[in-house]
Symmetry: C2
Subunit: 262 residues, 2 copies
């Protein structure tokens, strides 16, 4: 009885998604006893570098490919050329090509997979500056290494690609900016997410998953709910739950422990 | 490149461990890019019912058995006979036998596995009462369905078994009661964990894992850290990281996207 897997593929905003209040952990919690949520977030990665991971994370010919995935890149691709994070910069045209390659590969790995694209969040330039000063003091960069405007171009292309390929997307860049005071409310350092920011990603994602994939509440759990177990004959509930495993179910406690099901 | 898996096997306190501030999510976060933490928590289950799951969760002969596991049962086994949760009650002698069966099976499934036993947390009887009243008003049970004393007997047996079998254990029942005001600080409804309670499980577990299994900070990550990637020749870092995959690494972007590694 293998659980379906959801792979979260992205950069640091995915890698950090299991921190307290994180969107990845929240998704794992809402699908508990139903789905395994695997974190494949790689801090600092852009789509160009992500291509090197594709065959490892989504191997072709796997007997059990993931059932769903999120693809959440762009925050690093949108670093500006000529500034301190230049090495991460990927021009928007290549960003689109890379994202397309990622999506095509994932579909090739698992034709029935449900994929959701997520745009980078907006950038609070003042927040980035303050963060740099908190780290480097006077030596901090004078010019922001990312701007909200350029990240917005990447975000727009990401949504556009989703539309072209028929893949649902979350326009996080636009969504967050609808919130009064998004700069501090949603972002912890002008780029990464606060608990509120994480909550927005989770809510948007859960909505899309519920409506287009499996509804978290009504998806069946693995193994019977404890209230369905007859205390005098616990084996019944397990046989009923998976009749094909009747032999194993009956054998299990007997093999392992003669004293069970008293 | 398959990541080692840690399986968290237990009852609702495990099932809920990916909620905000949860100990399971915290463990997953500290081992991000290193280990997959799988939640196998089953709310309401006691050790007697857990036996029915053993062969499914820890199948014998698996080519990739888990590398580590937590076994965290007892809160339901310690429900009192003759009270409202009687059906979950498992006498302490059987609890010990069942736990032993679980541990022996896990070791059989994966001889090199690292296992940590966790005792049930203490019970705040007043908190349970208040919780029942909040749900059922006047119809709430008059007598607590669990007592701290009986849960303590189960906890003691759990630690004793760990000592007998050479398996490290966390005596959560004792540990939490060392905290002033543990009743409300650590428990949300007299039984389940608050964020502080979750923090205690996480800290204890992380300490044991760091000292006896893999230290989370020094365990190698999968794939190179982004700072080690040469922006002009990204393939180098990936070949260096996994020389056996040189062919795939070089081929990857070329196959997927002619424009990569500019």
């Amino acid at each position: 009885m293998r659980r379906p897997q959801v792979v979260l593929f992205g950069d640091s905003i995915t890698e950090q998604s299991f921190r307290s209040g994180g969107w990845g952990a929240a998704l794992a919690d809402s699908y508990s006893r139903k789905v395994d949520v695997l974190n494949r977030g790689y801090g600092g990665y852009n789509t160009r570098w992500a291509l090197f991971l594709l065959h490892h994370i989504f191997p072709l010919g796997s007997p059990h490919p993931p059932a769903a995935a999120t693809v959440f890149f762009g925050a690093n691709d949108a670093a500006l050329p000529g500034r301190t994070s230049e090495r991460q910069y990927v021009p928007v045209d290549e960003y689109k090509l890379n994202l397309r390659s990622i999506l095509l590969h994932i579909k090739k790995c698992s034709p029935d997979i449900f994929v959701v694209l997520i745009t980078p969040p907006p950038v609070d330039e003042q927040g980035r500056k303050e963060y740099a000063i908190s780290l480097y003091g006077e030596k901090a960069m004078k010019l922001p290494e990312r701007t909200n405007e350029v990240t917005g171009v990447h975000a727009k292309i990401c949504v556009e690609l989703g539309d072209e390929m028929g893949i649902p997307s979350i326009d996080l860049w636009s969504k967050m900016q609808q919130i009064e005071g998004w700069q501090k409310k949603c972002l912890s350092d002008g780029l990464h997410l606060t608990e509120t920011g994480n909550g927005i990603v989770y809510q948007q994602l859960q909505k899309i998953f519920n409506e287009n994939w499996h509804d978290a509440a009504s998806m069946p759990s693995d193994f019977p709910h404890h209230s369905l177990i007859d205390a005098s004959h616990p084996e019944k509930a397990f046989i009923q739950h998976s009749p094909e495993n009747a032999a194993t179910v009956q054998q299990c406690p007997a093999t392992d422990n003669g004293s069970a099901s008293a």
